[in-house]
Symmetry: C2
Subunit: 178 residues, 2 copies
């Protein structure tokens, strides 16, 4: 049986996390990290048994890997090692969040696909009490063509959604980076 604070089942908070897009920086993105820190300091606070954190990392299939390879004419063995490498990177990313949960109950997993679609389908499947998404706050030009994962989730996820925009002082030089 799970621990609780006596107020029913723990509040299940799904946090969608991704890697930094800055090259050579295999770490959580600025927005994932600040969404996580906000969740700990502003929601969970001292109530460790009242919350359960669910970390979902969505990997875009084959998006990564090519840049690091010598040639795009890859052999089957190259693809295999690329997949292995992606898997390991994903696990390292989740490890960061799980290790920082300390006394808070948590789960973490990886799915492949289009992040916005996968996040919403995982919300349907897992039924968290809320979804926390960081937002890079794209400019008006990018917004029109790209939209953002967070906007999609606010409209389509079947649970309350917390959108956390990046602070101006946390922005990398190119706002597309994170």
């Amino acid at each position: 049986m799970e621990r609780t604070d006596g107020y029913g089942d723990p509040t299940k908070v799904m946090v969608a996390v991704n890697e930094s897009s800055l090259k050579g920086y295999p770490h959580p993105s600025i927005s994932s990290r600040s969404a996580f820190e906000w969740t700990l300091s502003k929601l969970v606070r001292s109530n460790f048994s009242g919350f359960k954190l669910l970390f979902l990392h969505v990997q875009v299939p084959d998006e990564d890997g090519f840049d690091d390879m010598d040639s795009i004419y890859a052999s089957p063995a190259d693809f295999k090692s690329m997949k292995e490498r992606n898997k390991i990177r994903g696990l390292h990313l989740l490890e960061f969040f799980v290790n920082h949960c300390h006394q808070i109950n948590c789960e973490a997993w990886i799915r492949k696909g289009d992040p916005k679609e996968v996040i919403c389908s995982e919300v349907k499947r897992v039924q968290p009490d809320m979804l926390v998404v960081g937002s890079r706050g794209l400019g008006p030009f990018q917004r029109v063509f790209v939209g953002t994962v967070s906007e999609f989730c606010v409209k389509h996820a079947d649970c309350p959604v917390v959108t956390i925009r990046r602070n101006a002082n946390e922005c990398p030089q190119d706002p597309v980076d994170d």
Copy 2:
């Protein structure tokens, strides 16, 4: 000095609340009420001293009142009584929320103006840790022309925003009503 749970200042949660738009139903809207109940049961839980709730009710100037009057050629006295009536209705609305806070520290106030603009300017002024807004979930046709207060706040409010969409089973017959 304010009570806390030993984890710094209480988390300040601003909840934007409005009246039901159903005629003859001077009560909190379905979406305000479910946003409030969600805040209590999923965020605050047992941690009463860890949170402070801030209820903001924005009244649209002179939007109400005319329907109940005999003529739109109103005398100055009519306007005065209308204003009084609106003020009393606003206070009754806030009373509902404050009375249901029990052991949780709270504040409540009324502002006049365009809800989406006023909510964002109050966020700037009061600097809550998060803003909770209910959403009526307008259909695609209404969305194009009207947008929603919640969408505006997600994009422009200077703090994390929790959007709580109404469940299908909580919808009045006409989705514009609430």
